[in-house]
């Protein structure tokens, strides 16, 4: 309320044109006069939503030269969640892309007042994140490591130092803290208005009190927007409707799934202290107490993320207006207790108000950005998980780049709308999930945590069988996958207790699964993989795929090809295996979370030809991965067919019978570098084949295994996984996969030029494997991913994944090494020599461990087991 009043006047003072347009509103409430200016009939871009995200997108688009932009706001600018926002700009983030967005936002807001003349209330106060436990301190140290290598000042401080920085804090229960001196406070509504002012000066037309009823779509493209004040034709629509984004997405004929859900969020405003707090006092974040505290007009503003959030607007917006939400003191009680525990001296401070400000949350606590997979030209930026101010600036920039250039300047896959599909759009799912997500904001983020809500949505037909055998599950894209199998009689710790940054309790279990993969045979249910079938009446399928994929797909029928699906810059949009089933049909296997993205990518690029069909057959097949030297014996006994490498070479695919079941697609790949087979089984045969395999396998020592074993195997073999190691900014050249690119396959393909150029000029980053040398598995913190890599004491990159190698008995980290010029910081070409001639260290939560860098896997270690995988592995050795 207070913020709002302030900002209104300033915004109008700064914008005379605006004042002329809307001055009548203040004197009269008659509706006719509210809309003096009629809407334009057309525009290039229509942005829906005048909060921080909408204005930021408008600001950045107009800066990048797009002028024909209309921004529509149903109420008044910055009147939704933005108005109520606590206004804390904090860069302490776990995910690297979020960290970059927050950093950019901070820098943007800092100069905004100067640029626009609108007072934004920007004060660089710094922030202190407190740790009440050692685990929390580790978590903060990890963030501090990433902040430091980003060039953001940040230090881990002692409780005593905390007391020096903030006079009111009770430090008795603290073990340490993280101080980020450049974090800031702003008036969020004013920032939004400043962005709007700048955008407006750049030609963006802003209309308040105009609501979008739906978006018109023709042939899968946005054509216009229907509002309560008429129609606007447009090429691009940007949905920045915040907590209404879900509903808006579903309002048109062609639904756009934007999975987010609102929760009530409370914060407290107080009257000033007797001795008013300085406006430069740092913001306090006490995640263990689930609260944040900032100074506010001499008093404090304190809110938090309770354990039992109250979701709202599940049934849509017709329940309540934001303005009318009730204060709920009983609900706030735990947070108030935490506040008084942290600052006991505030007892006598007088309450001004308890603000109820709904925030929208997403199923994985990351915001939603990008283009709809179903409607071209339909962009989304929403679901900020209560960090709208921190992310708003950066997110707006990336989305604007995406729209103008076709791709953003950073890898935003973790935020991409296409990581979700229709399956995350159930209101019940979202309601339950956000109740878990909101408390998670304050929970300790330990490696390998899994969501507990919204589970058991997609399962393999073997789910119950595996569960009964002790399977422990994790979830990817709604699909239940086995982590590992707890042997009978052995019981692991409760979920809560097994959260650790150190050696986990499943260490030995996974170790024995890995051993079995190496020495006998294991079966892993990998049904979650995305599976497409592409076929045509003529050669269209081959031709199109040859264009879209970098490897040569014109292979004999029955061959499997590992190939990247590259973008114009040569980066991996997808990394997949394609089997040529017949002359004219192909079977494509991609990572689980590619289901939406890959489908949209191919749909948009495959020719619109009735003779060419693509089908998502993910649900039709159960996939069993038989890993290990004895897989060949099991399979040949079950099929009465010789499976030796002479008869069934590596990277080969054949439909055959297994047990009674016929038509099983057997492929000699395992995704791990180990010998074995993938079985793609029509689902009705799944249980039969599984039973047969387990029965037959008994004499070969078969056992179930899970993804943790798989992960350990593939990482020690230096196998990169898309989504973890590979992204749209990584080319095959940079990860040692030139052998999967056929520059000379006789026809053009997407990304070819970029790769050709890279081949000549060299790469600027290089995928490297690191073996930790002086790391004690039992005692030291485990690496996870995102740890900074140091070469000769200088930062050169970050890890992307890591695992314990039971073969090497060492930790293995995979990551990218860059070469920054020592003086200018300019990126230089990374050569093999550069990699090899350096002393490496990996920084785990501030502690550095020596590491040995390798560009090739330990082939010698594995030779005696490398029977069928020569081809699969040979690529690495070729270089």
């Amino acid at each position: 309320m207070f913020l709002r009043l302030l900002s209104d006047t300033r915004w109008r003072a700064a914008n005379p044109k605006w004042r002329r347009m809307t001055c009548s509103r203040r004197s009269t409430s008659s509706t006719q006069e509210l809309h003096p200016a009629s809407l334009p009939a057309q525009a290039q871009v229509v942005i829906c939503g005048g909060g921080i995200t909408g204005t930021s997108v408008a600001y950045h688009l107009s800066k990048m030269g797009w002028k024909d932009i209309v921004l529509l706001e149903q109420g008044r600018l910055a009147a939704g969640t933005t108005r109520f926002c606590a206004g804390i700009v904090s860069t302490a983030r776990h995910v690297s892309i979020e960290l970059k967005m927050a950093d950019y936002s901070n820098k943007l807001y800092q100069q905004l007042e100067q640029e626009t003349g609108v007072v934004t209330g920007y004060v660089k106060t710094g922030s202190i994140s407190l740790a009440q436990t050692q685990d929390r301190l580790i978590s903060l140290k990890r963030i501090a490591s990433s902040l430091n290598v980003m060039g953001i000042p940040c230090e881990i401080i002692t409780p005593k130092q905390v007391a020096q920085l903030h006079p009111l804090i009770n430090i008795h229960d603290l073990v340490g803290a993280m101080y980020v001196p450049e974090d800031a406070l702003v008036s969020s509504a004013n920032v939004s208005l400043a962005l709007a002012t700048a955008a407006s000066r750049n030609g963006v037309q802003i209309y308040e009190r105009t609501s979008v009823s739906h978006v018109a779509v023709q042939n899968g493209r946005v054509t216009g927007v229907e509002t309560d004040r008429g129609q606007i034709q447009c090429q691009y629509f940007v949905n920045c409707a915040g907590q209404w984004a879900y509903e808006l997405g579903h309002s048109g004929k062609e639904p756009v799934n934007i999975p987010l859900h609102a929760c009530e969020h409370f914060y407290l405003l107080t009257h000033p202290l007797k001795e008013p707090l300085a406006s430069s006092l740092p913001t306090i974040v006490d995640p263990d107490g689930r609260i944040y505290i900032r100074n506010w007009q001499g008093g404090i503003l304190s809110g938090g993320f309770e354990k039992n959030p109250k979701p709202l607007f599940t049934e849509g917006r017709n329940q309540l207006e934001i303005q009318n939400l009730q204060e709920d003191w009983d609900h706030f009680e735990p947070l108030l207790s935490a506040l008084l525990r942290r600052m006991p001296d505030l007892e006598a401070l007088q309450i001004m108000q308890l603000v109820n400000c709904p925030e929208s949350f997403t199923p994985d606590m990351r915001c939603i950005m990008g283009e709809s997979p179903t409607v071209r030209g339909y962009f989304v930026l929403a679901g900020m998980n209560s960090a709208g101010i921190s992310y708003g600036g950066g997110a707006g920039k990336y989305l604007a780049e995406w729209m103008v250039n076709g791709y953003p300047s950073e890898n935003v896959w973790p935020l991409d709308l296409k990581r979700f599909g229709a399956l995350q759009s159930s209101r019940t799912f979202l309601r339950h999930r956000v109740m878990e997500v909101m408390p998670l904001i304050c929970d300790l983020k330990v490696p390998r945590w899994d969501f507990q809500t919204g589970r058991q949505l997609r399962t393999s037909p073997l789910y119950d069988r595996l569960d009964a055998q002790g399977a422990r599950w994790m979830e990817k894209h709604g699909f239940e996958r086995v982590k590992y199998f707890v042997p009978p009689g052995k019981d692991l710790l409760d979920l809560d207790q097994s959260k650790t940054f150190y050696k986990p309790d499943w260490f030995d279990i996974v170790g024995s699964e890995v051993k079995c993969c190496k020495e006998a045979v294991c079966v892993i249910d990998m049904s979650s993989f995305t599976k497409f079938e592409i076929s045509s009446t003529g050669d269209q399928a081959l031709e199109s795929l040859q264009y879209l994929f970098s490897n040569d797909l014109d292979v004999p029928v029955g061959h499997v090809v590992h190939t990247g699906m590259l973008n114009e810059k040569g980066g991996y949009e997808n990394d997949c295996s394609i089997a040529r089933l017949s002359k004219r049909s192909f079977f494509m296997i991609s990572p689980t979370d590619q289901q939406v993205h890959c489908w949209a990518w191919l749909k948009n690029r495959l020719p619109d030809d009735g003779n060419l069909t693509m089908e998502d057959v993910t649900w039709k097949y159960t996939a069993l991965n038989l890993i290990g030297p004895r897989a060949v014996d099991v399979l040949s006994e079950l099929s009465y067919a010789p499976m030796t490498p002479e008869h069934f070479p590596s990277l080969f695919c054949k439909e055959m019978s297994v047990g009674y079941a016929n038509g099983i697609r057997v492929m000699s790949i395992t995704h791990t570098g180990e010998p074995g087979f993938m079985l793609y089984i029509p689902i009705e045969y799944a249980l039969h084949v599984y039973n047969e395999v387990m029965n037959m396998g008994q004499k070969y020592g078969i056992r179930n295994a899970g993804y943790y074993a798989l992960r350990s195997l593939r990482i020690e073999k230096f196998f990169a996984f898309w989504g973890q190691d590979l992204d749209a900014f990584t080319t095959p050249m940079e990860c040692g996969r030139e052998f999967q690119v056929k520059l000379d396959k006789g026809m053009q393909f997407v990304g070819q030029e970029a790769l050709l150029e890279q081949k000549q000029s060299g790469v600027y980053k290089r995928f490297t494997m690191f073996i930790l040398e002086d790391h004690d598995t039992d005692m030291d913190l485990w690496p996870w991913w995102g740890e900074p890599i140091f070469r000769n004491g200088r930062y050169v990159g970050k890890t992307t994944s890591s695992a314990y190698s039971y073969t090497l008995e060492r930790h293995v980290c995979l990551g990218f090494v860059q070469h920054f010029d020592e003086k200018t910081g300019e990126e230089l070409v990374v050569t093999t020599d550069f990699i090899n001639q350096g002393e490496y260290e990996i920084d785990i939560a501030g502690q550095r461990f020596q590491a040995k860098a390798k560009l090739y896997p330990f082939s010698s270690l594995f030779t005696h087991r490398r029977r069928k995988d020569e081809v699969e592995l040979s690529g690495y050795q070729r270089e």
Binding site: T270, E327, A348
Partner: protein, 570 residues
């Protein structure tokens, strides 16, 4: 399953809970004296009361059934030998409550201590919940469901409860029955009454259909769907007898066929009267089977009150006979809770009842009719099922008792004729029926035996159940408004509110929650675990002196359905 009737508060002058504070300083009862120190001026009365003997006979009775009655009589504790000294102990219940509340727990011995889980297992032993199933997510019944529970004080408990859905007509039946002089009558009424009501409500065609089915030996249409706790039993032995009586009733209804639509109020009254009549007749006629013969006599000579609710859409009928009570919980617009009585107690506190009884008898009896707030100086409820001693003529009573089985004949109680017994019947089972049109603000109905109402005011009952059913969020929300409140003050207030609420979460059953309050409430109106633990750890023979059997049914209404029905009617 015959109950010991010795300590029944209604039928016996030996001390009942709350009516008479029991001052005990006897060394033979250290448990009690430690737990419940009593004012010294009451001390001399104890000898007369001879509590220890009563207590021992209670245990004894438990095994020996009716025979113990005679021992009572011999000891002179039998309630219808009015003794003035006991009457002197008679105190308004408020006094007793005050006395209990004022007790100091500081010196309480630890041996009474039950852990919270133990307390919970006692409180929850008899709890039962029923949720009306939703159809396609749209609950078409005005009842969402009900919670019920019982806490015995007598051993065995003399209260009964019943709940059933009418299958051939619409509506749901719920009732609580408080037995006295044993549980036989309450048991019989709890089994039979709903059938009588359902039959009374049935249209002529359905009655014919049922009769034809019985006649030709075909399967019968089910009339009621019972919602029973496993401890709620039906007597198998008597089912044939009960059925034939019921059949006679519907045959008469068929013959009577008035052609008029059945009025619920009338049906309820008819059913009550008819059942009482059948109980009486069965006892007079007897049964060749000696067990059954004895059973019907026990049913007739014991008594029971009944409070029954019939809910059909927005129409709520309460039929009440005796001193159990029905109360409606209403949520006011400001969110607060208020109570509306839907029944009148039939006892000496009800002027109209006293009036009625006096009207029904000659003026010469006016003085002897109601003595010490009891009917003929003996019976607390002024209306009841059974209790043929207050209904039959002296000759009939004598004839039945003499021709009855030896057990009956040896029983002094059955032989005893109330004093000033001139113009029977003195007692009726005819209920008073109240009709209430449910409104959206009517959130729940509480049916409970007097064991609850003696300890709790209806306003508190409404608030406790209301807050329980709506959960924390509907606790009167706190708003700071323009007041000057500091963080510390607010924190204190919230902590206190949370403490109050946390007791709610222990119970999944509204009735259990209410019992917890009824038994464990301290002077601040919050549940005091220590007190609760003491009350529940009283030995069986003492429990009855501090509390009565408590039976509660809490029916929750569906405001949406009620709102929709209302709109339709408008």
């Amino acid at each position: 399953m015959l109950a010991a009737s010795c300590c029944d508060r209604r039928m016996c002058v030996c001390p009942g809970p709350r009516r008479i504070a029991i001052p005990v300083r006897s060394s033979r009862l250290p448990l009690l004296s430690d737990a419940m120190p009593a004012p010294a001026h009451l001390f001399p009365l104890i000898r007369n009361c001879e509590i220890s003997r009563i207590c021992s006979t209670v245990c004894y009775c438990h095994h020996k059934h009716l025979c113990c009655l005679s021992s009572h009589f011999a000891h002179g504790h039998f309630r219808y030998a009015p003794q003035k000294k006991f009457a002197a102990l008679y105190r308004p219940k408020e006094n007793f409550n005050h006395f209990i509340h004022a007790r100091d727990y500081a010196s309480a011995p630890q041996r009474f201590y039950l852990t919270p889980p133990q307390v919970n297992s006692i409180l929850k032993a008899n709890e039962y919940s029923f949720k009306v199933p939703e159809f396609d997510g749209k609950n078409v019944s005005s009842v969402l469901g009900f919670d019920s529970n019982q806490l015995p004080a007598n051993a065995p408990i003399e209260d009964r409860r019943s709940a059933a859905t009418c299958l051939q007509t619409r509506g749901m039946l719920l009732g609580v029955f408080d037995g006295h002089a044993g549980c036989a009558c309450a048991q019989a009424v709890s089994e039979r009454l709903f059938y009588y009501i359902a039959v009374s409500l049935l249209p002529h065609e359905t009655l014919l259909e049922i009769e034809n089915a019985v006649e030709s030996g075909r399967a019968l249409l089910p009339i009621l769907q019972w919602h029973k706790h496993p401890n709620d039993y039906f007597s198998k032995e008597a089912s044939k007898l009960y059925f034939s009586s019921l059949r006679t009733y519907w045959q008469e209804l068929i013959d009577l066929n008035s052609g008029e639509t059945t009025d619920v109020k009338e049906a309820l009254i008819n059913a009550f009267k008819r059942l009482d009549n059948d109980i009486s007749l069965e006892a007079q006629v007897g049964d060749p089977n000696s067990f059954l013969n004895y059973l019907v006599l026990r049913v007739a000579f014991s008594g029971a009150t009944a409070c029954v609710a019939h809910v059909d859409g927005v129409d709520l009928h309460i039929a009440n006979t005796g001193d159990s009570r029905a109360m409606l919980g209403v949520q006011e617009e400001d969110g607060s809770w208020s109570a509306v009585n839907l029944s009148y107690d039939h006892n000496a506190q009800n002027e109209h009842e006293v009036e009625r009884v006096k009207m029904e008898h000659p003026k010469s009896e006016e003085k002897s009719l109601v003595k010490q707030d009891r009917l003929l100086g003996l019976l607390m409820p002024f209306r009841a099922f059974g209790d043929v001693k207050f209904k039959w003529s002296i000759e009939l009573q004598k004839r039945v008792v003499e021709s009855g089985p030896d057990q009956l004949n040896d029983n002094e109680y059955t032989k005893f004729i109330p004093p000033n017994y001139h113009t029977p019947p003195y007692l009726t089972a005819e209920p008073e029926v109240i009709h209430h049109k449910l409104r959206p603000q009517d959130k729940f109905l509480v049916l409970a035996t007097d064991g609850l109402w003696e300890t709790m005011h209806r306003q508190d009952v409404a608030r406790i159940v209301g807050e329980y059913l709506t959960g924390v969020h509907h606790q009167q929300p706190i708003a700071v408004g323009g007041y000057k409140v500091t963080l510390g003050q607010m924190h204190g207030l919230l902590t206190e509110r949370r403490a109050r609420i946390s007791s709610v979460f222990e119970d999944q059953n509204a009735a259990t929650h209410l019992i917890r309050h009824a038994v464990g409430n301290n002077e601040f109106g919050t549940v005091d675990h220590e007190r609760l633990s003491k009350m529940l750890s009283l030995p069986e023979e003492l429990a009855r002196m501090y509390r009565d059997d408590i039976t509660i049914i809490v029916v929750q209404f569906n405001s949406h359905v009620i709102g929709a029905c209302q709109n339709e009617e408008l």
